[in-house]
C-alpha cells in the first residue's frame, strides 16, 4: 500500500554504507543486523522476536511478506517493516561473520 520511502533520519542516524536493508538480501544469504530504524510502532515487536542489533539472520524466502530466520525461528515479516532493518551480509553462510 502506502510505500512512503521517507525513513525520517533520526538525529543519530548511523553510517549505513555497506549495509543492506533486510528485504534486499538474497535468498539464503546470512547477514548480521547492524541497525534498526525504530520509527515504526511495530519495531518493538520485531525486536522482542530477536530481530535486533547483533543477531544473525538468514533470508529464507524473498518477497512481500518475506520469511527470515533469526535465533533459530522462522518469521514472516512485511517488506514494509523489513526495509527498516539494516544488515551487513556475511561472506558465507558460515558460523561467524
Amino acid at each position: 500500500m502506502s510505500q512512503t520511502v521517507s525513513p525520517t533520519p533520526a538525529p543519530d542516524t548511523p553510517d549505513l554504507t555497506g549495509l543492506t536493508p533486510m528485504h534486499q538480501l538474497k535468498t539464503h544469504q546470512v547477514a548480521e543486523i547492524k541497525y534498526v530504524d525504530a520509527s515504526h510502532d511495530d519495531i518493538a515487536r520485531l525486536k522482542s522476536m530477536g530481530i535486533c542489533q547483533g543477531r544473525r539472520i538468514q533470508l529464507i524466502q524473498a518477497g512481500d511478506p518475506l520469511i527470515l530466520k533469526v535465533v533459530g525461528v522462522r518469521i514472516g515479516v512485511s517488506a514494509r517493516l523489513a526495509k527498516r532493518v539494516y544488515a551487513e551480509p556475511c561472506c558465507s553462510s558460515g558460523k561467524k561473520c
Partner: protein, 688 residues
C-alpha cells in the same frame, strides 16, 4: 521500556517486589501463572495439572477468556492460570496484552501472580531465554519448566542443566508436557517455591543488561546467546528439520500457497458439513421429542405454547447449529496446532492487504462461515484496533449456517429440479457475502476507520503432530462458553418472539371475511365425505387457516402490514414481511414463519422442494404469483446481506466495546440489504 512507562504504583522498578502483607492474601488461593513463548506448551502443561477441572472465565475488564484450575499441592491448593503466549513485554495483540498485564499485576481485581511457572521450549533455548530474562527480572518467585524434553533429547547437542540453572538463578525442571514425564518433579519444585516464597534474583550477568543503556533487546539476546552457549547448545543445531523447510516451500509459495490454502479449507468445510449432520439430526429429534414429552403434561393453552413452541422450539432451533460450530473449532484448533495457520495468515496477508485487512483476519472470516459469534470472539488475534473493528463489522455478511435453511427454501423455489442452477445459486449467494464483506472492509478502512494495515509479523513454527486431546478439551470449553453466552440471549429472544406472534389473541370469530368463507366451504366439504383421512385432512386445513389468521391478528402480523409500503419496492407482500420481521432476531425463523403464514405443516416446511411447491402456488390478492423470480431473488439477496441476528449484535457490542458499533453494524447492513434487494427486484422485474 514498558516498565518505565507504567503508571501503576504496584510496579515500581524491575526488581523490587510489591509488598503484599500475608493477611490480604489469606482468603485467596495463591496464583500460579503459566508464562512462555507461544507454542512453548503452556496449555499442554496446564492440562496435565488440571485434567478436566479447568474453568473458563473472562479477565476483568476485558473480553478475553482464560482457563484456570484449582490444583492440589502438598503445601495446599493453588490456582493455576493458563495465559496466552508472549515474546517479550511489548504486547501487540489484546491477548498478549492481557498476559503481560497479569504478569505485571495490572489486571483489576488480581494481584501479581504468587509464582511464575515459566515454560521454556528446550528445542529452541536461545529464543525462549529472551522472555525468560524479562520474566526473571520482574523478581517474582519463578520455576522454569524446561518443556519438550522428549524432543530435546533427540537432538545432537545436550543441554547442561546445571549450567542453565546457575545462569537463570531459579529452579529448572526438565519436563515433557505431552507425555507427562517430569511432572512430579515439577510439582515438587512448585511446592517448595510456594512454601518459601522465594523471589527470583536476576543473576549478575542479567542485571548488567537492565542497566545497559544501548539496546535493551540486543543486550538480553546477547545474554541469551551466552547462556545457551554455556550450557552446550548452539542454536544452529536445533531449529527446523528439513521437513518443515520442504513443506514450507510449497505452503508459503506466493501462488501455490494460496491454492493450498483454499484446498485445505474446502476439505475442512466439507468435513464439517458432512460430520455435523448426524449430531444435528439428533439434536433436532431430541428437542422435538422433549417438546412432545413436556407438552403431554401440559393442558392446551398459552403455557404449553410458550414452553413447547417458544422455549423448547426456539432454543433447539439455535442449538442445532452448535455441532457445526464446534466441529469447526475443533478442526481450526488442530490446524493451529500443526503450525499451518501461521502459514495461512502468511499467504493470505498479501491478498487481505489489498482490502486493508491484515492476513490474520482470515481466521475469523473462515469461522464466520459457520457462525459469526465465535468468529467475532476470535478477532482478538488481530493486533490493531481499527483492523479488528473493521473485521468485526463485516463478519456477519459472510454466509453463516443459519442462512442455509433460508437459501435452501428460496433456491428450491427458484430452480426446483435443476441441480446445476441451484448449485450456481448457492455459490452465488456465498460469493455475494464474501464480496460484500471485502468491499465494505475496504470502504471502512478508507473512510470511518482509516489507517495503514499493521504490517505482518508472524512466527512460522515447525510443523508438529497435533494433539487431539488439547483440541478436544478446548472445544468442550468453547461449547460451554457458547451455550452460556448465546444461550441466555436466545432464551429471552425466543420468548419475546413467541409473544409477538401470539398476542394479542384473536377473539372468537375474529377471522377475516375471506378466511371465514374458506372455513365454511371446507366445513361443508367435511359434511359431504365419510372418508376419515379426508376429514382429517380438511380439519388440518382449517387449523392452518386459523393459525394464519391468528398470526395476522398478532403484533407480528400487524407489523407486517404496517411495513407493506416499506418493502413493496422489494417485491415483498405483508406475509413475507411477517417472515422478515420475525427473523429480525434470528434469520432462520423465516422458514417456520412462512410455514405458518402459508399454512403448511412443519414436515412440509422442512422438505425444501415440497415447501417450495406450496410457496410457488401462493397468489396475491389480485391473483398474481407471490414468489415470482424477481421476488425470490430479491428475498435471497436480502437474506445474504441483512444482519438479522441479535446474539451476534450482543457479541459485537462486547467485543467492539459499545452499542454504537452494534447499531452501526445493523444500520449499514440493513441499508446494504435493502438497497441491493431493491436493485435486484427492480432490474429483474424490468426485464421480465
Amino acid at each position: 521500556m514498558v516498565l518505565g512507562r507504567s503508571k501503576d504504583k504496584n510496579v515500581t522498578s524491575s526488581v523490587s517486589l510489591p509488598v503484599v502483607d500475608d493477611d490480604s492474601r489469606k482468603p485467596q488461593l495463591p496464583v500460579i501463572a503459566l508464562v512462555g513463548n507461544p507454542n512453548a506448551g503452556k496449555t499442554t502443561l496446564f492440562n496435565q495439572f488440571s485434567g478436566l477441572r479447568a474453568k473458563t472465565a473472562n479477565f476483568a475488564g476485558t473480553t478475553i477468556d482464560h482457563r484456570s484450575a484449582r490444583v492440589k499441592f502438598n503445601h495446599g491448593d493453588a490456582e493455576l492460570l493458563d495465559l496466552p503466549g508472549l515474546y517479550g513485554l511489548d504486547a501487540a495483540t489484546p491477548e498478549e496484552k492481557v498476559a503481560q498485564d497479569v504478569l505485571l499485576g495490572r489486571v483489576e481485581g488480581m494481584t501479581q501472580p504468587d509464582l511464575v511457572l515459566l515454560v521454556i521450549d528446550a528445542t529452541n533455548l536461545e529464543r525462549n531465554l529472551y522472555l525468560a530474562a524479562r520474566t526473571i527480572e520482574l523478581g517474582l518467585p519463578t520455576v522454569v519448566a524446561l518443556n519438550m524434553w522428549d524432543l530435546a533429547q533427540k537432538l545432537p547437542t545436550k543441554i547442561n542443566l546445571d549450567s542453565l540453572t546457575k545462569d537463570l538463578g531459579v529452579p529448572v525442571i526438565p519436563v515433557s508436557a505431552r507425555t507427562g514425564d517430569g511432572i512430579e518433579q515439577l510439582r515438587q519444585a512448585i511446592d517448595t517455591s510456594l512454601e518459601h516464597y522465594k523471589p527470583a534474583i536476576a543473576p549478575e550477568s542479567l542485571q548488567e543488561c537492565s542497566s545497559c543503556c544501548e539496546c535493551p533487546y540486543a543486550a538480553r539476546f546477547d545474554w541469551a546467546e551466552q547462556v545457551s552457549d554455556r550450557c552446550g547448545v548452539n542454536n544452529e543445531h536445533h531449529t527446523h528439520g528439513p521437513m518443515t523447510e520442504a513443506i514450507d516451500r510449497i505452503l508459503t509459495h506466493p501462488v501455490i500457497g494460496i491454492f493450498a490454502f483454499f484446498a485445505v479449507m474446502a476439505v475442512v468445510f466439507i468435513l464439517i458439513f458432512q460430520i455435523a449432520t448426524y449430531p444435528m439430526d439428533m439434536i433436532e429429534a431430541g428437542f422435538g421429542y422433549a417438546g412432545a414429552w413436556v407438552g403431554s403434561f401440559l393442558g392446551e393453552g398459552d403455557l404449553k405454547s410458550l414452553i413447547v413452541d417458544g422455549i423448547i422450539g426456539g432454543v433447539g432451533g439455535v442449538l442445532v447449529f452448535l455441532p457445526q460450530i464446534l466441529i469447526l473449532f475443533f478442526f481450526l484448533t488442530l490446524l493451529e496446532d500443526t503450525g499451518y495457520m501461521a502459514r495461512a495468515a502468511f499467504v493470505m496477508d498479501r491478498l487481505m492487504r489489498r482490502v486493508g485487512l491484515p492476513g490474520r483476519a482470515f481466521v475469523p472470516m473462515l469461522s464466520a462461515h459457520a457462525c459469526a459469534i465465535p468468529a467475532i470472539m476470535s478477532t482478538k488475534i488481530i493486533e490493531d484496533r481499527r483492523d479488528r473493528l473493521v473485521t468485526i463489522l463485516v463478519l456477519p455478511l459472510l454466509t453463516c449456517s443459519a442462512r442455509l435453511p433460508v437459501y435452501v427454501m428460496l433456491i428450491a423455489l427458484l430452480f426446483a429440479g435443476n441441480a446445476v442452477y441451484a448449485g450456481l445459486a448457492f455459490t452465488g449467494a456465498y460469493s455475494l457475502g464474501i464480496i460484500a464483506a471485502l468491499v465494505m472492509a475496504f470502504l471502512f478502512k478508507k473512510t470511518i476507520l482509516p489507517g495503514d494495515t499493521r504490517p505482518l509479523v508472524i512466527e512460522l513454527p515447525s510443523y508438529r503432530r497435533p494433539s487431539i486431546k488439547t483440541a478436544t478439551l478446548l472445544t468442550l470449553d468453547r461449547a460451554k462458553l457458547f451455550v452460556k453466552k448465546a444461550g441466555t440471549i436466545i432464551l429471552v429472544l425466543s420468548i419475546l418472539l413467541w409473544a409477538a406472534s401470539t398476542y394479542p389473541k384473536m377473539p372468537e370469530g375474529g377471522e377475516s371475511a375471506v378466511a371465514q368463507q374458506r372455513i365454511a366451504q371446507i366445513e361443508q366439504q367435511i359434511t359431504q365425505t365419510t372418508d376419515e383421512t379426508a376429514v382429517a385432512e380438511f380439519n388440518n386445513q382449517i387449523e392452518h387457516i386459523q393459525a394464519k389468521e391468528e398470526l395476522a391478528y398478532s403484533v407480528a402480523g400487524r407489523a407486517g402490514k404496517i411495513f407493506e409500503p416499506v418493502f413493496r419496492p422489494l417485491g415483498f407482500d405483508w406475509q413475507i414481511n411477517v417472515g422478515v420481521l420475525s427473523s429480525f432476531a434470528a434469520r432462520e425463523v423465516i422458514v417456520s414463519t412462512l410455514a405458518i403464514v402459508y399454512g403448511v405443516g412443519e414436515e412440509v416446511a422442512e422438505d425444501g422442494d415440497r415447501f417450495a411447491q406450496v410457496l410457488d402456488r401462493q397468489t396475491r390478492e389480485d391473483g398474481s404469483r407471490v414468489f415470482t423470480t424477481a421476488t425470490s431473488f430479491s428475498l435471497l439477496v436480502f437474506y445474504v446481506l441483512a444482519m438479522q441476528c441479535l446474539p451476534t449484535q450482543a457479541v459485537t457490542k462486547r467485543e467492539a466495546g459499545g452499542w454504537k458499533w452494534a447499531f452501526f453494524q445493523l444500520g449499514y447492513m440493513s441499508v446494504l440489504a435493502y438497497g441491493l434487494a431493491l436493485i435486484t427486484y427492480q432490474t429483474i422485474s424490468f426485464f421480465s
